[in-house]
């Protein structure tokens, strides 16, 4: 049971990183200015790094010979277990930045806590990922503040993004059987144990950005069970096209 749970747990984290990096990669060459193009690519690169380690580790736990690419490129929508938040589209830069901020505000304390995991692989990855997530959080938070306290247009755009994306934040704190069984073994992070840190970061940054925290409302769910928004299929189609078209090929 533990192995299955650990496999699922790693796959969820890997899928979060893989799907968000795919979304960030869409900006490559199209950002508002060169510095930001490089910054978004940088975050995408860090996330690909996390995804690779996590898929590889999941493949070893599973023991069926599936490597990082088999796991990333040869599963269908229903088998992906990423958060709904990370698959939301780049409607504009405000959406991309708010999505990153809400996610990184969770992932930074998450990796910090994961450094104490009894699982050596996860603890080792966390030591590296924590530093990167700190940068992702700082970068996205600075932009949330700049956009919130910039012009009327930027304020409205980042405000819309917050309003829209808020309903996907509840999923980060879900704790099902997979998570709780691993929390009991001190392998996984109990998401509720870092909720106060997420709240604190979000509240501080939104206040500095002159943004109002949305009232607690209905939270969407489903990603961890493979029930996604319509966007995921459109992310996977280009991402998996070469692997699917030429399944015998090595690249």
């Amino acid at each position: 049971m533990t192995d299955t749970a650990l496999f699922t747990y790693c796959m969820r984290l890997a899928d979060d990183s893989a799907i968000l990096s795919q979304r960030l990669g869409e900006w490559c060459g199209h950002a508002s200015h060169l510095e930001e193009d490089i910054a978004l690519t940088n975050i995408a690169l860090d996330l690909i790094g996390h995804a690779r380690e996590l898929y590889t580790y999941a493949g070893q736990i599973e023991g069926k010979g599936r490597d990082e690419d088999a796991l990333c490129f040869h599963r269908v929508e229903r088998e992906f277990n990423n958060l709904l938040l990370v698959e939301q589209p780049n409607d504009d830069f405000a959406y991309a930045i708010m999505r990153q901020f809400l996610f990184s505000a969770f992932m930074h304390p998450f990796w910090e806590a994961m450094m104490n995991s009894k699982d050596e692989q996860l603890a080792g990855l966390a030591a590296k990922a924590e530093k990167e997530a700190a940068y992702h959080l700082r970068h996205s938070a600075e932009w949330v503040i700049r956009l919130g306290d910039g012009t009327e247009e930027s304020h409205n755009r980042i405000s819309d993004a917050l309003e829209f994306l808020w309903m996907y934040t509840g999923e980060m704190f879900e704790c099902d059987e997979v998570v709780s069984s691993l929390v009991a073994k001190e392998v996984a992070v109990d998401p509720m144990s870092i909720k106060h840190l997420w709240d604190e970061t979000v509240n501080t940054v939104l206040a500095r950005a002159n943004l109002e925290r949305p009232t607690e409302s209905w939270m969407q769910t489903g990603g961890r069970k493979g029930e996604h928004s319509e966007h995921l299929g459109h992310i996977l189609s280009p991402m998996q096209y070469l692997q699917r078209s030429f399944p015998q090929a090595q690249w």
């Binding site: 490559c28 690909i48 490129f73 700049r146 956009l147 247009e153 991402m239 015998q248």
Partner: protein, 327 residues
């Protein structure tokens, strides 16, 4: 990447102080670096602004054909390599714009020249990337050709450009090896993968040769750049170096190059090659390449879509500065 030696301007017949000119030339001849605050002839400054900014624009526009494959890269490792490479190109753009700014022109002006079509960028980026092997072929051939152009620029007489090029060349040679590695992996693969490689090379070989600019007999404006040690080899000399270096690599790779005139001259040791289609070259330079309009449309869209972001950043910075001075 990608100085194409396209439109090095003729030295304009401005009136310069003869003594200063002679002292300037003497410094160049002694291989001293010219720094931004040093006296320099107006035409030297103008040539450099044009060349460095064209180079910067090429880096930035060059992000687009490679970016075309980011979401479709066939493995996580290849995706990471590609993203890192494009990120490097963006970085090259940044420090080249900075080098140009030391000559008294702003990045905004230079970007405006690109977006309004007044400035040129390397013609190679007006060709499409049509299959995954193009990503490898761009690394191998396009970066390879760029390196041939750029290594002499590391010794360019203008200090900031020379120093930028030293750094850029290191990264470009890494890109070239990664591109070649991608192609080697595909050549070891299925028949379909091998066909992709051959197809990519067939399409990109001639445009890569064109990156060195027109043949010497048609290139009228090199003399001043040579005298000022901005340029150290002619277009044809650099093209020949590239062909000589690349033909053996093609053999190792196991692909053919699309030039029936290609043969080794045993006496000179050089690979003789056919003439690129110069009509196609000039046509592409004039804006009629298959992707010219699309590339500009994409750059303009990114710039316009990003306007509110840049405005917000400026507004925020102004508010912060006002708060600080009020405190």
């Amino acid at each position: 990447m990608y100085t194409q030696a396209l439109n090095n301007p003729a030295v304009e017949a401005g009136v310069e102080d003869e003594e200063k000119l002679a002292a300037f030339q003497a410094r160049i001849d002694r291989e001293e670096k010219i720094e931004p605050n040093d006296w320099m002839p107006a035409a030297y400054r103008k040539t450099l602004v044009r060349q460095i900014s064209q180079h910067a624009h090429s880096e930035v526009v060059g992000m687009l054909p490679e970016g075309n494959w980011v979401t479709r890269a066939p493995s996580l490792k290849r995706k990471a390599i590609l993203l890192a490479k494009i990120q490097d190109e963006g970085g090259h753009g940044l420090y080249l714009y900075s080098a140009a700014e030391t000559l008294g022109v702003s990045r905004e002006e230079l970007v405006d020249q690109l977006l309004t079509g007044k400035a040129k960028y390397s013609s190679i980026f007006n060709y499409p990337t049509l299959n995954w092997a193009d990503v490898g072929a761009v690394g191998w051939l396009v970066d390879g050709a760029a390196i041939m152009n750029q290594i002499p620029l590391c010794r360019c007489s203008f200090g900031p450009y020379s120093r930028a090029m030293i750094r850029i060349c290191k990264e470009e040679s890494f890109h070239q090896r990664q591109g070649y590695d991608l192609l080697v992996a595909m050549m070891k693969g299925t028949a379909e993968q091998q066909e992709m490689v051959q197809d990519a090379v067939n399409r990109l070989w001639w445009p890569a040769l064109m990156m060195f600019g027109p043949s010497d007999k048609d290139s009228k404006h090199s003399a001043a750049s040579m005298k000022w040690k901005i340029k150290r080899f002619t277009n044809d000399e650099l093209r020949q170096k590239f062909v000589d270096a690349t033909v053996p690599q093609a053999k190792v790779l196991g692909i053919s190059l699309p030039d029936i005139d290609l043969k080794l001259n045993e006496e000179t040791g050089h690979w003789e090659h056919g003439e690129p289609d110069w009509d196609e070259f000039y046509n592409t330079i004039q804006g009629n390449g298959i992707c010219n309009k699309q590339r500009m449309k994409d750059r303009i869209k990114a710039h316009e879509d990003g306007a509110w972001v840049r405005e917000a950043a400026q507004a925020y910075a102004a508010k912060q500065a006002a708060k600080k001075s009020a405190a």
